[in-house]
């Protein structure tokens, strides 16, 4: 009898009783480390809580539970460690909003100096702590090629302080500081700040993007990056029901549509060169993605803003063409 690969769900589900173990995710295992444990105070349907557990569990597995995590100020830090409780199962430190990368560099330096060669250092922050206030330290860490894996959980605004605009906020999105009023409601159509690309410009060993909607892809990238040496950067897309005005139950769905419509392309790069991309399975128009989120409601009502919807579609199309995200491997 010829080998029948598992068709019922292929390898898209978290696990499956019929999948060979090597095709299952870390999340499918009862032995997973639950690095971010129950009892944290994240909102219902928090994408960041999901992304952080996915990533750190994968890193824990890859490193044989030999990791130290550094956290920037932000939702993740606040909801995970309200005195006297912490949800972390790993050695974890929070210092400031803008210095996670630098603190991680210090931790890594300490491991070298103390000869703890097997310990892997992970820094994590939101888009504010990474692409804005923490950017200097991040770039310095990259430039020195310090032995740190930096994970950015991008929910596209300052959620911890009540949804203010960050340099990762997409065009036209409504935030508390880019309200949906006036001639061009919502965030400006700027040139954008593509931090993965900036990371690549540092020619660091590894840069990747990932999404909570594609667990297998995310875990593969994190596990791989964990064991590389030098500066590594993974930019993880994590929807925020509160800030995006999406249904808590739709967190994964929204993330999936961001990928499928081309607005959040999944790819990886070595030494500044794109070496792999994750193909879109079922291409969707950006409106499918946008209309699930109240922060874009003004693009659809009272009158449909076709001009700006087209502009956003153009961004998605450019991503798809530039990275050749359609077709087959």
């Amino acid at each position: 009898m010829h080998e029948v690969k598992f068709y019922q769900t292929g390898t898209f589900t978290v696990g499956n009783r019929l999948l060979p173990p090597e095709l299952r995710t870390v999340q499918s295992e009862t032995g997973r480390s639950n690095s971010l444990n129950s009892g944290h105070r994240a909102c219902q349907g928090c994408g960041e809580a999901l992304g952080a557990r996915y990533a750190i569990d994968a890193a824990m597995r890859a490193s044989g539970r030999r990791i130290i995590a550094v956290n920037a100020t932000g939702c993740l830090e606040v909801f995970s460690t309200p005195y006297p409780e912490t949800s972390w199962q790993v050695p974890w430190i929070h210092s400031l909003f803008g210095n996670a990368a630098a603190v991680a560099s210090g931790v890594a330096a300490a491991q070298r100096a103390l000869g703890a060669t097997d310990v892997r250092v992970v820094a994590q922050g939101g888009d504010g702590g990474t692409t804005d206030i923490g950017f200097g330290c991040l770039s310095g860490m990259f430039e020195r090629n310090d032995d740190v894996l930096y994970l950015c959980y991008d929910n596209e605004a300052y959620m911890n302080t009540g949804v203010q605009r960050s340099s990762a906020t997409p065009p036209a999105a409504r935030t508390a500081t880019t309200p949906a009023v006036g001639r061009a409601p919502g965030n400006v159509f700027g040139t954008g700040k593509n931090v993965p690309a900036i990371a690549m410009a540092h020619r660091i060993p590894y840069v990747a993007t990932a999404s909570v909607a594609n667990l297998h892809d995310l875990e593969r990238k994190v596990a791989y990056a964990t064991m590389l040496h030098g500066a590594r950067y993974i930019h993880v897309h994590v929807p925020c029901p509160l800030g995006w005005g999406s249904a808590p139950a739709d967190t994964v769905k929204v993330a999936r549509l961001a990928v499928e419509c081309g607005l959040f392309p999944l790819y990886e790069a070595h030494d500044g060169q794109v070496t792999g991309r994750t193909l879109i399975r079922r291409r969707a128009p950006v409106s499918d993605y946008l209309k699930l989120q109240k922060r874009f409601a003004h693009l659809f009502a009272p009158v449909r803003d076709d001009e700006r919807l087209a502009a956003i579609q153009a961004i998605a199309d450019r991503n798809v063409t530039e990275l050749a995200l359609e077709g087959h491997d």
Binding site: Q8, T9, V14, Q27, S38, L50, T251, V252
Partner: protein, 541 residues
Amino acid sequence: MDKPFAITLDVGSSLANKTGSWRTSRPVYVDRLPPCNHACPAGENIQGWLYHAEAGDYAAAWRQLVLDNPFPAIMGRVCYHPCEGACNRGTVDEAVGINAVERFLGDLAIREGWTFEPPRSESGKRVLVVGAGPSGLSAAYHLRRMGHAVTVVDAGPRAGGMMRFGIPQYRLPRDVLDAEIARLTALGIAIVLDHKVTDIRATMNEVRADAAFLAVGAHIGRRAFIPAGSAAKMLDAVSVLRSMESADKPMLGRRVVVYGGGNTALDVARTAKRLGATDTIIVYRRTRDRMPAHDFEVEEALQEGVLIKWLSTIRNVDAGSLTVEKMTLDEQGFPQPTGELETLAADSLVLALGQDVDLGLLDGVPGLAIEDGVVKVDANMMTGSEGIFAGGDMVKSERTVTVGVGHGKQAARHIDAWLRGAAHVPPPPHELASPEKLNSWYYSDAPRTVRPTLDLARRASTFEEVVHGLDEGNALFEARRCLSCGNCFECDNCYGVCPDNAVVKLGPGRRYAFNYDYCKGCGICASECPCGAIRMEPEPT
């Protein structure tokens, strides 16, 4: 390590914070009714046996299957599989080839000599079943497994009823039929042949039966008045097909005309072809889209060279030829004569205009009612006469093997309850697992496997089976295309996508449980469950 106050905390201490209190709605695991099961006339738990089949545990799959239907190998050939018409996979790519897998399981069981488990205990009751067709045998099977002694009485020389005397061999090889019937006798069911029951009560007393199930089928070919010359050769389809099972095959000649548009018409036409007819023509009053026969059978017939004259009726028959009149459909879709006539050369005319039930055995049974030529039964399938139940083609229903098998099962349950002085109350059906309850994104693309068919040359000359079975490889493939609609197949999605680790994985075959201490009720698990086995319910207040 005596740690600095409040600055340094011990890991995992947040377990003290029961975030479940935030919940306003809660997820619950449910088993919804898969559309295939819903559509199956025999009430098979299709998703249930595919669940085992996709794991490669064919024995378990077969055991699950035969809980509802003792004839997988037969069903896998003759069932018109409404299940596949209802299959949700049809909305993703193509329906799962359920029928093919069922046949694979049936054939494997025969090859492996799998047998039914005997009843755990004997009830001491005895039931008489009249008619060894699909319905009767099915009822006998279920009653026996419930522990009752069963005697089946049939007028024919061999068991199987229409399965043997109505369905041609190229669709149902007889060794398959015999094997699955043999398995019933092995279970301890007594089958008495060549015994026509004329007085049901009398026969019941003979065999000291506490109850009876009547399923004699409908074997009387319906005649229509067609002016015919004395030399004209007219037969009815039922007798033609029946005589295929006897020593002397029917003589139909080189040019055969079949009158009718049901599956029987096609069976008989294709049989004529195989008997050596050079031209076989089906004459039907209406158009193809109005034809009762299944389209795939029409397709196979046309492939084999059977011709069909649409919108035609037969006016009269003579030796060697007959006259047909062209018809036209009126607004209501009824055929109306046009007066336009045509002569067809024909050595014989076979009428396939439907069948009637022989109700002889019911004469003088008090309380028993007949309506439109079939026996009237109540909701419990009992006739007006206490303890006498009826089903299959002799009651009002769609006349297919699968429906018959289903009747047998239902009747068995009612009879069993009646024997225990109770009434069988079927459990309330589960909510239907309709397509919008699924998250089909997670299912990978896998087009269905096409079953190989016998090449045309051999079809014209032999009664070899036209449609072949699957090998284990593609049977497994096909089984794994099942979406497991409405029933957890342990994909771990809920366990993985919970931001609060509030899902407990109970281990292989034991599914999952929610830890409501931490579940905040976000509902991601429900929306990311591929098969729709989680429902969000308002938090009880």
